[in-house]
């Protein structure tokens, strides 16, 4: 990819791309913040969202963003049941078992995608995602703008939801003190189910915008899980705003890395930054 000669272009690209990274990481951050579960399948859930969008577009000609009307309820219900009947029960036995289950789910999803879609790479090509827009003299793909807007909207929505609704407050309360949340009459088992379901919905949304920005394959989930981890390490777990800013930083670092060292090593700078933050501020820049 050629960004042009100046450094402003990669920075703006990075900011917009960061919206997508934040979108991918929000669900991971939510599930960890509430249940202390590192959901290794999160990247695969995102890619699942991409494939559902792809299936709806190819078979029924439904625009992928419009297709969210169908995929969001599907992912919500799936997430609720995974938490309630798999993770929740496993948590009752030992806290590391859900981690293994998440890894198992990840493998199952990857292989199911291989069987259904073949390992070929796919993309969500819409008429508008390949258009471009201008900021001053500079030209950018519309898909990047959509990533950024979606990232902000979902982050603001989750912030509002966690602070201003009964269910959101119950999720927040359960993440701060499970025992006391139970004493307040919160059915923590159910609340965890909803938290996981909401994380799945955010993955479905992230998947669509991802698919409009980059091509994806059945194994793309792993690389996006890595990006989500990086985002969360930079921003700090649990805070939605922190995760969003983490995504922006990661996006900018990546594009500047590409600008400085070429596209092949653009992730190098990202990993260095992530390692440095882990060493000096392991709770993340905005973590508590």
């Amino acid at each position: 990819m050629i960004y042009g000669g100046d450094i402003i272009t990669p920075i703006l690209m990075g900011i917009m791309l960061g919206g997508l990274y934040a979108l991918i990481a929000l669900g991971l951050s939510l599930v960890f913040g509430v249940m202390r579960l590192i959901n290794l399948a999160h990247g695969d859930f995102v890619v699942m969202g991409s494939y559902i969008g792809y299936a709806l577009m190819r078979n029924f000609g439904i625009d992928p963003i419009l297709g969210l009307i169908i995929s969001i309820p599907v992912m919500f219900v799936l997430g609720f049941f995974i938490q309630k009947y798999l993770m929740g029960r496993a948590f009752a036995i030992a806290s590391e078992i859900p981690l293994i289950i998440a890894f198992g789910i990840s493998l199952i999803i990857q292989n199911a995608h291989q069987i259904i879609w073949t390992p070929l790479s796919r993309a969500l090509n819409t008429p508008y995602s390949h258009m471009s827009f201008h900021i001053g003299e500079r030209q950018f793909p519309v898909s990047y703008l959509l990533d950024f807007v979606a990232g902000i909207l979902i982050m603001l929505f989750l912030r509002w939801f966690l602070k201003r609704t009964y269910l959101g407050m119950a999720i927040t309360a359960a993440s701060q003190d499970k025992r006391v949340a139970q004493l307040m009459g919160i059915n923590t088992g159910r609340v965890y189910g909803y938290a996981f379901a909401i994380a799945m919905v955010s993955a479905a949304i992230a998947g669509v915008f991802l698919g409009m920005t980059f091509p994806f394959t059945p194994t793309s989930g792993i690389s996006f899980l890595t990006i989500a981890f990086g985002t969360v390490v930079i921003g700090g777990l649990g805070s939605m705003l922190g995760t969003f800013i983490g995504g922006i930083i990661l996006g900018v670092v990546q594009t500047i890395g590409g600008y400085l060292f070429g596209p092949a090593s653009q992730m190098l700078l990202v990993y260095i930054i992530v390692l440095v933050i882990l060493a000096i501020r392991p709770q993340g820049l905005f973590g508590k």
């Binding site: 602070k163 025992r179 006391v180 139970q182 004493l183 307040m184 009459g185 059915n187």
Partner: protein, 247 residues
């Protein structure tokens, strides 16, 4: 101490409770009567918190049963018990530290019918604890210890309880703050809410409560009206003689 049945609100009959393989409560029987202020006295590890957690449904008795207004609650989950009208104010500063005062209170009204009465109950809480109204926008962890305890009690009131279980509220608080909290509890009781509170501070408790049970090593050692208990030699010796050791 046989009373007519409809006066008994909560009836705990011969319960044994275990933490894993460790038995924390042995054949404990307690009656809470409607409208009273009942105290549960005992040292650390005497099983007071275990008893409250069993009433709240965080733990379940291995033997025996717990009846609340005629309903067997010994197998129920905590959220079911809260919606029946039993609220526990947990020990220490168990407020949600990162949430604001008002959000802590609102979360107290999470269960069922209490949501509809949120504004009404909020007004009542602010009447009992005017300080909370002044500080409603503050993050809860920035409150003083006494204010946090008031917040915890206020949060419990938000669930519209019939019976309030209060665990070790005076822990680490100045006497003047404890006075203030006991005053609030009395006016809460006058509004018709039954109170069962757990304390280590025996002298104080025997002044404030009407009846008390004394727990020792997971068993009920003594019970009666606080007047009776004050006269008991055993109580005098065990608690008033060694008051310097109390926390």
């Amino acid at each position: 101490m046989h009373k007519i049945d409809n006066e008994v609100m909560l009836k705990i009959e011969h319960i044994d409770v275990f933490h894993g393989t460790f038995q924390a409560l042995w054949d404990v029987s307690i009656e809470v009567r409607k409208g009273e202020m009942l105290a549960l006295i005992g040292a650390n590890t005497s099983g007071k918190t275990t008893l409250l957690d069993t009433i709240s449904g965080l733990l379940h008795p291995a033997r025996g049963r717990i009846e609340f207004q005629g309903v067997d609650i010994s197998r129920m989950d905590p959220y079911e018990i809260v919606s029946l009208g039993i609220t526990q104010v947990p020990e220490g500063r168990c407020i949600f530290p990162e949430m604001t005062v008002i959000d802590n209170l609102v979360i107290g009204s999470y269960c069922g019918a209490a949501r509809k009465r949120k504004d009404e109950n909020l007004k009542k809480v602010f009447e009992h604890f005017p300080k909370l109204k002044e500080r409603q926008k503050q993050v809860a962890k920035t409150l003083s210890g006494g204010e946090q305890q008031m917040l915890a009690i206020g949060r419990g009131l938000m669930s519209d309880p019939k019976l309030m279980l209060i665990d070790e509220m005076s822990l680490g608080l100045a006497p003047i703050v404890i006075d203030e909290i006991f005053k609030a509890l009395k006016s809460i009781k006058e509004k018709g809410i039954t109170i069962l509170f757990v304390e280590q501070n025996v002298k104080r408790t025997l002044q404030e409560a009407e009846r008390a049970y004394i727990l020792e090593n997971g068993r009920v050692a003594l019970s009666g009206t606080t007047e009776e208990l004050r006269e008991e030699d055993k109580v005098k010796k065990a608690y008033f003689g060694v008051e310097v050791c109390e926390t």
